[in-house]
């Protein structure tokens, strides 16, 4: 196979994945998620489907009408065409059998079964995995994380540049949102204008719905848009998640309409204090468990220990939550960070139940000097409760 020089396919990345697959005894990766698909093939589509065998040519699976378009775009990879979901499943099964036959023929001691890896995250629906297992009874399905994590965790400079651009777009959204905060404003209005500002600035979409939480609803981690208008004295948490060229940003800020009361001030001050403590500890070898301990220590000093919640940050990149995603996968609490990983600080809400909570979240690059923020954005929680005259 000759690589098409204009192809967006990252054949170097496919080669590195194939080397890991052979090391780990995995016969193929079945890609059914946007992030790995974009990482390997440089494009994305609504139904990403591909098979990367441990040896040989990758196959993309596409609808009949997409064939010519994909061939032109991609050059190299083989393209399997189907006209229906049933056809797609048959094609995948047939292709995996062919891979199995090759593996068996080549191996000195043929494996007793075929090991196939697939991403097992939120985007991979249970019914597709079950369907896959049913039609591939001889296949052991394993997580592709042990192959993909080592390859994707540390970001290339071009990836950092795109993530920086995405984080700048989040800042544009936050600038716009901040100007709208006033007595009587609705969370929906703020979210609408923030999304519009971010899309005009280049965001394709957002990773999550835009969370704008008001008053005691700020207690809800990633709550929805609060229904009641904001009032003087309310805490308002805004969490923005624009996506630029497939890469995710994450910027959260908490505001108070008018002067914070003592409890609000104590939560805001504590959050602002824990960020530099965690940032300093964000070095190669550190774990989220250790970062959590830094945050807990700051809260303990301030008499807020009972409100501490673990999971101070999460990895992000082409996926909104990547390894370490410690609040989703508990063992990720102990994954050592590496230089060049991109991790947030500020994921958990610091909340007094029934009262309200605060959080400020940014994206950092892990370095031996601690976390380097991708794009600094001010923490300035106090906003005037009434619109300025004029």
């Amino acid at each position: 196979m000759t690589a098409n020089p204009t192809s967006s396919v990252r054949f170097d990345r496919i080669d590195r994945a194939q080397a890991l697959m052979r090391e780990q005894g995995v016969a193929a990766i079945v890609v059914m998620n946007h992030d790995d698909y974009r990482w390997f093939f440089g494009i994305d589509r609504a139904q990403p489907r591909a098979i990367i065998p441990a040896t040989g040519t990758s196959a993309l699976i596409a609808f009949t009408a997409e064939e010519e378009e994909l061939r032109t775009l991609l050059g190299g990879p083989e393209i399997m065409i189907w006209g229906s979901v049933g056809g797609q499943i048959n094609d995948v099964v047939t292709h995996l059998r062919a891979i199995a036959a090759e593996v068996t023929a080549a191996a000195p001691a043929p494996p007793t079964h075929l090991r196939v890896a697939m991403q097992q995250w939120f985007e991979t629906p249970a019914f597709l995995v079950d369907m896959f297992r049913r039609v591939n009874p001889g296949v052991e399905l394993v997580s592709s994380d042990p192959i993909m994590d080592p390859l994707r965790a540390v970001k290339e400079p071009a990836e950092i540049a795109t993530m920086t651009a995405a984080q700048q777009v989040a800042g544009i959204g936050m600038d716009r949102a901040r100007t709208l905060l006033r007595d009587g404003a609705t969370a929906h209005e703020v979210a609408t204008e923030a999304i519009y500002a971010m899309m005009r600035a280049g965001a394709q979409r957002t990773s999550t719905p835009i969370y704008v939480n008001v008053g005691r609803e700020t207690c809800m981690l990633h709550g929805w848009q609060s229904p009641r208008p904001m009032r003087t004295g309310d805490l308002v948490v805004i969490d923005l998640t624009p996506v630029v060229d497939g890469y995710c940003a994450n910027l959260a800020r908490t505001f108070v309409l008018g002067e914070p009361d003592a409890r609000q001030r104590s939560l805001l001050d504590a959050y602002e204090a824990l960020i530099p403590a965690v940032r300093d500890a964000m070095r190669p070898g550190a774990t989220v468990a250790q970062l959590d301990a830094c945050a807990a220590a700051v809260l303990r000093e301030r008499g807020l220990a009972e409100y501490h919640v673990n999971g101070i940050g999460h990895g992000l990149g082409l996926r909104f939550e990547e390894t370490p995603a410690s609040t989703i996968i508990p063992p990720h609490r102990n994954v050592p960070l590496q230089e060049g990983m991109t991790v947030t600080i500020g994921h958990p809400i610091l909340a007094i139940p029934g009262f309200g909570g605060v959080r400020h979240e940014d994206v950092y690059r892990v370095t031996p000097r601690g976390g380097e923020i991708l794009v600094p954005y001010p923490i300035a929680p106090v906003v005037a409760a009434s619109a300025p005259a004029g």
Copy 2:
């Protein structure tokens, strides 16, 4: 348990689900998706988690800081509180064991294992299901569709009203998108303005990214936003999916910049002709397979049989694709429609590979007189390629 009169919980729906669970020998439903959660409890949240046993009180699972808020909102249901994902899993396991003990004690012939139902759609990630199975080895996990489909398929009048409002919002988005189509416009610009118009009109979010496909990229079913600007002569397919109060809308239209050529005209005319044929057949008892046959017959008459693709419509409601979702679950092709179900016409692209495709999609209510469109929206594909002067 006394129902809180201000609670948003639909205790009548819980009762009907419990009756079906007992009939089907299901001990509990574990709800981890937005649509069932909203259908039962009248609210939504980022991480919907609840257990509805076949008998007795439902339990909502929430973070510590959310407890008071949820209790006030919901009144009746029991609320299980957790501080971490690990805690949550433990709570769910413990609660299911208690349900198992009750089932065993009550049954004349105790079941050999506990059957628990869960939704198995796109929103239910494989890793959560696998984790659930690992920590609940005595539990047989089954799809909740046989319980939820009979309950949710036929929409209540209030649901039809909300879906009509959502479809009107989609129309507002399409009005806005249409005015922006001109030589040099980008798909991203059109999508940005359409989303903004829909959110200002009350959409909370969209079910899918907003697809705006240009030229031969219209071949891609649910492609992404095309990168190159549109030019005179291009086909442009716009697919809008706003969500209002949790209910999904779906409106797709195809446009041509300037006068269509003969092939474009033949595709456009054929799609416009197949819609009334399918709509007339959309009566109680009809299946998607039969509706597909109607569409295929129209295309055959016009010499376009080779471009026919199955899956002319899909159910929608609180979920963007509900039963019948024939392009996802092949057996859904043979599910008989019922009066009051809401189903689209216009899902598949009618495309000439490498050239381009067309589709117009709307939402219909199944009636004995055929499909009744929720909100009529004009099919008027030809737009001026240049912006009007002034």
